[in-house]
Structures are given as C-alpha cells and as structure tokens.
C-alpha cells in the first residue's frame, strides 16, 4: 500500500514533441527517488546500413535519421566526408550552407515554439484552440514558419531532405532575383518574429539549476564552423569531441545518454546563446537588447526565449546575405574521394551534432559514428526533471500539477525522439555504471 507522500507518476506518450517518449518518476517520503525518461521509439540501424555504401551519397541516406532536422544531418555528414577527403568547399558554398541552416532554424524553431509551446504560454490546449480566439496570431505564426520553409526551398530545394546540397557544393545555385524575393518575405515575417519573442520573454517560468553548456562558438553566430566550447570557458578541438564524452546507458530506455567531462551538460539554443550572444547580428542586438540581458542563464525554460531570438537572428543574417551576395553558377565536378577519416560538427536546431566517419580506398564508408543533440541532453533532462518534482513537492503542489510541469520542462528542450534513438549500443551496461567511449 502507498503511504502518504509516496507515489509514482507515469505519463505515456508525451504529446506535442516529436517521436515517442514516456516519463516515470518515483517519489518516496516526499523525496524524489528517480525521474526516468523512457524512449520507446524503434531503432532503425542507420549506422549499420550505410557501411560499404558510397561516401558520395551517404549524407542523403543518414539524413533520414531525423525528419525535423534532416538538413543538419545532411550538411554535417557532407562536412565529415569532405574533411575525410581533403575537399575544401568554395566561399559561395559556405554562404549557401549557412543560408540553408538559417531556413532550417527559422522553420524548425517556429514549429516548436508556435505550435508546441505557445499553447503552454497562452494557457490553451493547442494551436487549434488558440485559432478559435486569436486567428491573427496564428496567421502570423504560420507566416514566420512559412518564410523559413520558402528560404529552404529556394536555397536547398526542399525543407525536408533537400536535394541541392552535395559533397563539394550545391547542384543548383539560386538566381539573384529569387534570392532578393525571399529577402522580402523574410522582412515581412520579421516583425511577427519580434512580437513572438516578446510573448515568450514575458512567459518564461523561473527555474535554476547550475549546469554546463556546450556549443560551437564563432564570430557571426553561425551554425557551421568555429570551435567547440564549454561554458566553463575553454574550447576543445572538434576532432577530439568523442574523447571528452562518456556514454551513459539507461536500461529502461532505447536511447543512450552522454556526459561531457564526466558531468551532465546541455546543448541547444540556450547553450549557443550563453556562449555566442555577443556575436548576434547587429540588427537583432538593436531590436532585442532588453532580452539579451537574461543571458547567460541557468534556466532551461530560457531555451525557448533563446530559440525566439535565434529566429530573429537567422532572419537578419539571411536578409543580409540574400541582399548582398552575387550568386554565380559554379562548375562542380564530381569530387575525387580520397581514403581517410573525417569529422563534421554542426549546430542543429537542438544542439551540437557530430559525425565521424572513415572512407576506404574504394570511396566507400568503412564506419560512421554520430552523436546527436537529444542524446547529449538526456542526463541533463533527467536531472532537471528530478529538481522540478522536488521543488514542486516542497511547496506542496499536487501530483497532477507536477505532471504538467514535467511535460513542460521536457518540452522546453525541444527533444526529438526519432533522432535520439537511432543510436545503437550492443553491450548493455547496468544502470549507474558507464563506459568511456
């Protein structure tokens, strides 16, 4: 029989996040015993499936790991193949890749913030309910999301699994007039993006738990290039990222977690904002200066505000590039692949994505290894869950209320489950023990 103060909370199939996850929390004598996030998405074994396949199109295959951020997988894997083969992409290619990432961030953050989080903020159950009361707001949300979608389409060919980005460059370069047209669309969406940033700023719940943040750091708040840095103030070589990670296997979950330097850490928009806010676009800084003061922050809910700011930043960044670049057709010959090992690192919407692969003499993939954002956040997420339950218990909140708070804090991470579970570790290690990768 349960004593007063003992209970379990189970939430099956969290709604409004991608993929499939369940939560389990156990409380004894009003103290949290554990908080578990159980990922129940089936593995699809991509890393096995691509062995022996041509390195030239492996990126198109692995991008099927995750629908939400297929573009990040695609570009990160292409970078790893180029790095392994000593291929150096042109400056124009880098501009186009950055624009591709801008489109992804705008679209993907808008989906998460406006469709999944906005109802929390407005005390509604869903965007459907908001639409009944405030049609205009919902129209604005779709306008921003759609601008990101159009940007992806023009630059990369499609918002999901885009065809133009390839090893060595882009198979199609946008004509200048198309680029300028998209800049217009983005300008129209910008005011709405600012308005949403205001809405989120005013609605961030209070929460504090000191943790560690890791992100790429560079001069223009870009998602490609730069060094991998920690909020503790040091940077590491991107090549050695794996050496700083411990894999943490949870027997109850189909996904693995990671620790950085032996501790839980967070990757994602909040990590980027904590590390890179000085590098935001001048126009973004000008219009959102009052919000930047909230960072650096140890409040995971601020991840949502960071995403809202990133939308504006990506719009500003993209407008500038689209208006000032003179895009020229490029001759890209089929690149010659050399055997070798390579690394790709990119900031996906949900945080640092890492690829490490080896190409053999025949230009085929020997092995591929990847570390994805949601797996890196897993341990941190569970620690935050424990704390939120304890905090709420301490002030006497009901079980039902705690359940709502739990779902909400997980949603703040914008976790992507299909991506978190592609991971395979054959050796199952008991809970608590861990292995150095």
């Amino acid at each position: 029989m349960h004593k007063e103060g003992d209970f379990e909370i189970k939430v099956d199939s969290l709604s409004k996040i991608e993929g499939h996850a369940d939560l389990e929390v156990k409380v004894k004598n009003r103290k949290v015993e554990y908080a578990h996030l159980k990922i129940s998405e089936s593995k699809r074994f991509f890393t096995q499936a691509v062995r022996g396949k041509s390195a030239l199109n492996v990126a198109q295959v692995v991008s099927r790991i995750c629908g939400t951020c297929s573009i990040a997988h695609l570009l990160c894997c292409i970078e790893a193949v180029e790095n392994a083969s000593g291929i150096i992409p042109s400056d124009q290619t880098m501009v186009l890749r950055n624009l591709t990432m801008d489109g992804l961030m705008i679209r993907d953050h808008a989906m998460h913030l406006y469709l999944f989080c906005l109802p929390d903020v407005m005390n509604a159950d869903s965007i459907l309910e908001i639409a009944e009361n405030d049609r205009e707001l919902v129209e604005k949300a779709f306008e921003v999301k759609s601008a990101g979608n159009e940007l992806s389409k023009i630059i990369a060919g499609r918002a999901v699994h885009p065809p133009y980005p390839i090893v060595g460059g882009f198979s199609r370069v946008p004509p200048n007039d198309e680029a300028r047209k998209i800049a217009h669309l983005l300008k129209d969406a910008r005011d709405h993006a600012l308005e949403f940033a205001d809405i989120f700023r005013d609605a961030m719940p209070l929460f504090e738990r000191k943790t560690h943040f890791v992100a790429l750091k560079n001069q223009n708040y870009e998602f490609i290039g730069g060094e991998l840095c920690s909020s503790e103030g040091y940077c590491i070589s991107r090549k050695n990222f794996l050496e700083h990670l411990n894999r943490v296997v949870k027997p109850y979950s189909q996904a693995t977690g990671f620790e950085f330097e032996g501790r839980e850490y967070m990757v994602g928009a909040l990590a980027r904002m904590n590390l890179n806010r000085e590098a935001l676009h001048p126009d973004t800084k000008r219009d959102l200066s009052s919000m930047l003061a909230y960072f650096p922050s140890n409040n995971i809910y601020m991840n949502n505000l960071a995403q809202a700011i990133e939308i504006v930043n990506c719009i500003d960044h993209a407008i500038e590039k689209l208006e000032t670049s003179d895009f020229k057709k490029e001759q890209i010959s089929l690149p010659k692949l050399a055997a070798g090992e390579g690394v790709g690192v990119i900031e996906a919407p949900r945080g640092t994505l890492y690829y490490n692969l080896k190409i053999n003499n025949g230009g085929l993939i020997d092995y591929i290894n990847l570390v994805i954002p949601t797996a890196q956040n897993m341990v941190n997420m569970e620690k935050d869950m424990e704390k939120i339950v304890q905090d709420n218990l301490d002030v006497g909140r009901s079980k039902e209320r705690i359940r709502v708070e739990l779902e909400r804090i997980i949603r703040a991470y914008d976790p992507c489950m299909s991506c978190a579970t592609h991971f395979l570790k054959v050796r199952w290690i008991e809970e608590g023990s861990r292995k150095r990768t």
Binding site: S13, S15, K16, E18, G19, H20, E41, S42, K43, R44, F45, F46, Q48, A49, R51, V61, R64, I65, C66, G67, T68, S70, R107, M111, L115, F116, P119, D125, S126, I127, L128, E129, A131, R135, V138, E139, F142, E143, K145, S146, N149, A159, V160, H161, Q254, E407, S418, C419, L424, V426, R427, W428
Partner: protein, 166 residues
C-alpha cells in the same frame, strides 16, 4: 451514385506514427502554413499528438493517416486496432508504403544481424520490419521519402469527396 460513406460536414482524422523519422509529419505541418484555416473547417483532429495534448482518441475515425513501418508486435496490435476504428486507412511515406528505409535491417548480412540482435530481442522487435499493408488493409498510399505533397493533397481531396465534405 451515392457516397461510399454517410455524408459529413467534417471528417475525423488521426495522424499516427510508427518506426520512422516523421519527415512526412513535418511536411504535413508545413502544409498547414497554407491550409490551416481551410482544413480546420473540414477536419476534426481527433488524434494528432503533434497538435494537441488533451482528448486524443482513436475512436470512430473517418480517415487514419499512418506514417512509418511496423517493427514491433505492439505496433502491429495498435495498427490493427486503428484499422478496426477507421473507415479509411492511408499509408504516408516510403516507410509506411514499402517498409524502406526503416526496414533496412531486413537485408543485413548475418554478421550485422548478430551485432544488433540484443537490441532486437530486448525491445520485442519483430523478425522483420513491415510496411503497413503487410499488417492491415490499406485504402490509399502516399508514396515518397518524404511523402509526395501533391499526392497527399489529392488523396485528401478524395477523402473529402467520399464523405461529401465541401
């Protein structure tokens, strides 16, 4: 000629995903950019975890859209349950229509199969990954990886027609 189903103002739909990367779900959310206000007049999202938290139900569904392949017994059971409750079932995307790429482990060599065996056993995965039509009867398919937008829109139109939704 009469309609195949009783005439309605709005059809109740379910959007369910199994083993997949949910790319077609994302495309569906992108289609909402243009179609949201039109569709909320014609569709009742009875089960759509992407869009709402409360009140998701698989009872009495007119059209069930299924993305992803079937990899576990539990998913197969759920698919059968959906079939019983839905008048029309539509497979969306290559994984649901053909099994691939989610079914790539079906063709692994013995060595690779051995490597993944523990995971397969531990989480009750089936011997092979199946397209939806292996498990239940499917009325329409929207192929593509991700789903072909045009075929999706045409299929939806067809559903509207069959229920006399204007």
């Amino acid at each position: 000629m009469g309609l195949p189903f009783a005439k309605k103002d709005k059809i109740s739909v379910a959007w369910v995903t199994f083993a997949c990367s949910e790319d077609s779900s994302i495309l569906f959310l992108e289609l909402l950019n243009q179609h949201f206000f039109e569709w909320i007049k014609k569709l009742e999202f009875r089960h759509c975890r992407m869009l709402k938290e409360k009140g998701n139900s698989l009872d009495d569904i007119d059209v069930a859209f299924i993305e992803g392949a079937i990899a576990t017994e539990e998913d197969a059971k759920k698919a059968k349950m959906i079939r019983e409750n839905a008048k029309l079932v539509v497979s969306v995307g290559a994984c649901a229509c053909t099994g691939m790429p989610s079914a790539q482990r079906n063709v692994f060599d013995e060595k690779t199969k051995e490597e993944i065996r523990l995971v397969i056993e531990r989480f009750g995965h089936m011997e092979k990954v199946h397209p939806i039509k292996d498990i239940i009867k499917v009325d329409y398919e929207v192929p593509g990886c991700p789903m072909d937008e045009k075929i999706f829109l045409e299929t939806l139109e067809r559903c509207f027609k069959e229920f006399g939704v204007k």
